[in-house]
Symmetry: C3
């Protein structure tokens, strides 16, 4: 009997899908989260339902089934599941055992994103879902109409790691999001606040030229000015990154007000698909000329270019780590915030593991 290793916290909300993703595929979507194959579908009151994507009878995928009100029908032998995962009809069979069911999961839509709770439903409280007001505020903020999605062939923590140390911007993104290698030498993480569920911090780059992604969207007359740039981030379990970016006149202070400040808001949600792959959701919003769609289009292109630069490193790390089981990473000073995050995550993982140890049941099936 081999021991099983736990890779994911369960009692927490994960970003699962943008609402439009479900809408665009006949109101149902197959997606694996934390190595659990799930089907998400939209019920009769535009409610969302998530069930194990595996009919209890013969493991046929429910996601190739048919949504019928709040139910979904397995289209192999026609078994009908309700929103609780209970089988309520078997064609040609009169009585249906109560024991025929699949697991259902709490799901909530917020800010265009569907969130799922992978653990004990009794503990799920939708007020714990992180709020990111700009995503819902169509008056002051403009992002992409459809939140963006990327798939990473890498463990989610490698992406958190990337975002937890902005010195990488200087080298990975010198010609896109960063602007210069000097950024790594002349700026520092400031005001690191550590909490039970993550950390926040700031990084100020003062009196510098605008980096390329910003220079592409501001009025020409501002291009010659140097600016102060602030990145103010929050990173929360289990992979929620929220960032305010300010471009201000040199020497600006909060008391000067924000009239002359150009602002961005960025959310990135990293959700494990498997231990080696990640769903990555993001949007990037700005607060001026919000009806000029060219700005948002340019930002999307710039950010995507930047993420592709990251992907080379992150997926490269993943490959090397898979091939190097004995590798132990060495710390540097800039790791402080990520080390805290990793530590808090590890403690919760171990606590869940102790409360509910994973046992490997021997597979007696001979069909596979």
């Amino acid at each position: 009997m081999s021991e099983k290793k736990r890779y994911f916290i369960e009692n927490i909300w994960y970003a699962a899908a943008w609402e439009y993703e479900v809408a665009e595929t006949e109101n149902k979507l197959a997606r694996t989260i934390c190595e659990t194959p799930l089907v998400f579908y939209k019920g009769k009151t535009d409610n969302y339902i998530a069930l194990d994507d595996r009919c209890c009878h013969r493991a046929a995928p429910l996601s190739i089934g048919r949504v019928e009100g709040n139910c979904i029908r397995c289209m192999y032998h026609g078994m009908l599941y309700n929103e609780n995962g209970q089988v309520v009809e078997i064609p040609g069979q009169v009585r249906v055992s109560k024991s025929l069911k699949v697991r259902s999961y709490p799901v909530v839509a917020k800010g265009g994103m569907i969130w799922i709770w992978m653990g004990d439903p009794e503990l799920a409280n939708e007020n714990d879902i992180y709020d990111f007001p700009p995503l819902s505020d169509k008056v002051n903020w403009r992002g992409f109409d459809k939140g963006a999605y990327l798939h990473y062939d890498a463990n989610w923590l490698l992406i958190v790691d990337n975002l937890a140390d902005f010195s990488h911007v200087a080298f990975v993104h010198a010609n896109t999001l960063g602007g210069s290698e000097a950024y790594a030498y002349s700026t520092q993480a400031e005001n690191i606040q550590k909490g039970e569920d993550g950390f926040s911090m700031e990084r100020w780059d003062r009196d510098s030229a605008s980096p390329p992604f910003h220079a592409k969207v501001i009025p020409n007359e501002e291009l010659g000015n140097t600016v102060d740039r602030a990145n103010i981030i929050q990173m929360r379990l289990p992979g929620v990154f929220l960032m305010e970016t300010l471009f201000t006149p040199v020497g600006w202070k909060e008391k000067d007000g924000r009239e002359n400040v150009r602002e961005y808001r960025n959310c990135q949600f990293m959700t494990p698909e498997t231990r080696n792959t990640t769903h990555f959701f993001w949007n990037y919003l700005h607060n001026w000329e919000i009806d000029n769609s060219a700005i948002s289009a340019s930002l999307k292109e710039s950010l995507l270019e930047g993420f592709m630069e990251d992907k080379v490193f992150i997926e490269g790390q993943q490959k090397l780590l898979e091939r190097s089981p004995d590798f132990v990473p060495r710390s540097i000073a800039a790791d402080e915030a990520f080390a805290h995050f990793r530590n808090k995550w590890g403690r919760r993982l171990r606590a869940e593991d102790e409360a509910n140890p994973l046992a490997h049941k021997e597979n007696k099936r001979t069909i596979l």
Copy 2:
């Protein structure tokens, strides 16, 4: 020393290849059956020979060798094997040790299909090969000139499972082979006969419209009629499915004679390539206007369309089962026949395993 799990019955005949498959590739064919790489070739009297496809010297594939009468020459260093798998010549070497050999397997051709016995040759009796007379009867029946082949990325039992419950026809094949979802509600398996080597059963759909695959090939004047449809199947170990399908006038009984009955015969042979992949051979025959090649062509297209519908489910199940080692399937009433088959197969598997336990020899090779 790890324990090995047995996945296949050995003392039984498996469908290995259509005869034309061997003929079309210079009279030799590489095919893996029950995780055993084999080479099939045609000898000097049109006899078939099957050997392990792995030269005993250095594991070069014999299937890229050269057939010489009843022998096959490994084209790496020229070693010549006879039909018993014995090396009879080593170029440049005078004496050849009797111990240089590969395993040979009993093979028999019947009805255009080559059958192989994977177990103890002493026990092989070619009379045990299932007979399907329509495959050889060119006077009354017409199928495809060349029996068809499909490859499944799924364990063979998932295909047996599919065929053992015709209620799936209602949902998977509503627009092709089935005709309507009502089929699942209004018809039942009847006359289930269980035996040591499998089961037979019938399913009658009375007074219904012809399903699409049949409607496409019958005369226009019959299209408005409802019919009785019978599917009378046999499923035999280790994966032999034979079916008679009758379309009769409503209320027809056997004593009425078969003049006004349109009949089909269908064979499907499921042979494990590996525990996760299957060779699937089939033909579909009809008994009227047999010289009208359009009928057979239409039936082939319809059936293939139907099998592709099945494949989505079956390969979907396979993927989910591979990812869900702890999944235990739950039974419904319609599983009776398959459960019997699975049970009989499991008993034979265990009996062979007890008689001849698999031992894992430690691999001392360092070359791999």
Copy 3:
């Protein structure tokens, strides 16, 4: 705690890359040798440096970094490594711990090839690198301007095995490098010399027609002549093959002098990438009309055609061996030289294993 198996000798020089390969990719090259991902780069005095291709901080690939003199900068967070693998700069951090480093490996360029020592640097002696004078002798010999490279999906010993028994030339290369199947029957390995680091041997094919690869490049008036052909080979650990090929007048003896002899020199270096894949480097040189580039082009094409014929067998063997863990190869008389090589290699492998047993450290990482 699982036991680890050792697959590679470490205290030995391996052919790692042609020099031009490094030059063509901005003076740095990622290449895995003996399952160790490495970055090779060219320093400020055209010296070569090899480091583990994995930043000690977060396992980012150094090979997507930037060469700066004798240093290479990890372009993720900007850490700078010197030629000894020591971190000498961390942007934004004042002190750098001496413990931040990656492994560096002895490397030497010779005859256009970069050689690497995978074991204890104290034991590395560059005089132990096999010399192949024709590779450096531009006056008397002409090969390909750029040494050739092939990648094999096979363990390196399967290629050594191939080269250690020239009877395969008769069957695998009858129409390319060999000339006839008779070669396997009428010629024998002669003068086999066995040593601690490998073997040498000869094979003479007397009074035969020129094989196709040779016939394509000699003057027309020689085509009607039969010749004596000698292949005089050396095979050295850990995968160095050197061959002299002579085409002489029939009955020629060394005392007759080499004026009427057409000669080739061939080197083939087999370096394990992983236990299942191999880097294969080669060149093929001739000693007449060396300014006629058509000869070298024809030879390259002929040899490549021959290697492709080998590859089918070698990669076929690999696949069968991976699927046949219990297979034990059977010996024939022609295996003598390879068996000796295999034995000497196995003894060195075990000796290194006893001196320095591989321990599997438990991976406590949860990020992968």
